[in-house]
Symmetry: C2
Subunit: 205 residues, 2 copies
């Protein structure tokens, strides 16, 4: 059985698009899926960037928001609605997601947090907002947040981010198949799944 | 009838992928196609770059070459083969293309030059190489090259590049539909054509 690791950052618009359909696509293709939240910040810093390239390069940023609007429409998602600073600080959301993935609610949390952020103009950068999302899943928000900011979990997210950098990941979303093939960008998701499933013609040798 | 302007740079790997299938796709969709060669150099310089972002960010560059290998395979193109410096200087090729587009051989020249560059490890940055390509199309290479480097044609390419920048183009390939919708990247080509053709569900209002 083929597998894919889905590397995503909660601040990343294109990660949102992938998060909302990857589980369904992997299930249809019979591909095992690992959710790997990480932080783009240190990855971008290593490239000399202190914010999103969509802020550094305004023309690219304008295109990204229009592209997101079009793709949300094509993907059957609600219209993109955001408010306040972009990108949001995603470190706490990623820490909560790690706890959730251990406890079986990480996928639902990921989708709910992304939808809150990009379809409902919500914030995902503080404990109250994230606690409300965890609570909406019927989970104990206080316990999840406490575990999220524990030293062990903080260290785990750091290691996960270092692992992403060591794997050559330079943006999000990124998909890495079980046999080590790396695909960058939401527009490569279907291709990555075809590769992982070893569909006829999908791989080059 | 819908229309698309195809903005491309001869040094751009992803422009190659689009150039090899855009005419067929537009014909099938009943969309009029304009070929608009321009220069990324001034566009990149305005963003503070002195070379391709694929050279500035090595991890991104490694992914691009692997991505190109995969996409050439999926698109039924010959394996990617390049030699020497990347990106190549594309100014002379763009000048020749402008002459060719006036005279009815610009599309064939564009495809032949891209294939020479990315499938045959050939150079496209000097008069001899470009003359051989023009000659292979059964055209008068010396006349084409002379017209290409005439002052009027040089000024025309500069204006075309300024027009691209004024339109908010920041990379290549870029597709601009007749109603002004801008799509960046080879992975948006099919979407841009669907928009231009006004296929059901393709547009957001």
């Amino acid at each position: 059985m083929g597998s894919i690791a889905f590397w995503y950052d909660f601040a990343s618009t294109y990660s949102y698009l992938s998060a909302m359909r990857i589980a369904r696509l992997c299930e249809e293709a019979g591909v095992a899926l690992q959710w790997r939240p990480f932080l783009l910040g240190p990855v971008f810093a290593a490239q000399g960037w202190t914010t999103s390239p969509f802020n550094i390069y305004p023309a690219k940023g304008r295109h990204m928001w229009r592209d997101m609007a079009r793709l949300a429409h094509l993907n059957g998602l609600a219209p993109i609605r955001t408010e306040g600073d972009f990108p949001q600080h995603s470190v706490l959301a990623a820490r909560v997601a790690l706890i959730g993935l251990d406890e079986g609610w990480g996928e639902d949390f990921t989708r709910a947090a992304f939808a809150h952020e990009f379809a409902e103009a919500g914030r995902i950068d503080d404990a109250q907002a994230l606690g409300a999302i965890v609570g909406s899943l019927g989970r104990d928000a206080a316990a999840a947040l406490e575990a999220a900011i524990g030293d062990a979990n903080k260290a785990r997210l750091r290691r996960q981010t270092e692992e992403a950098q060591a794997a050559g990941i330079f943006g999000a979303p990124t998909f890495v198949t079980g046999d080590g093939e790396l695909f960058w960008g939401d527009d490569r998701l279907e291709q990555a799944i075809a590769w992982a499933a070893d569909r006829p013609g999908a791989r080059i040798r």
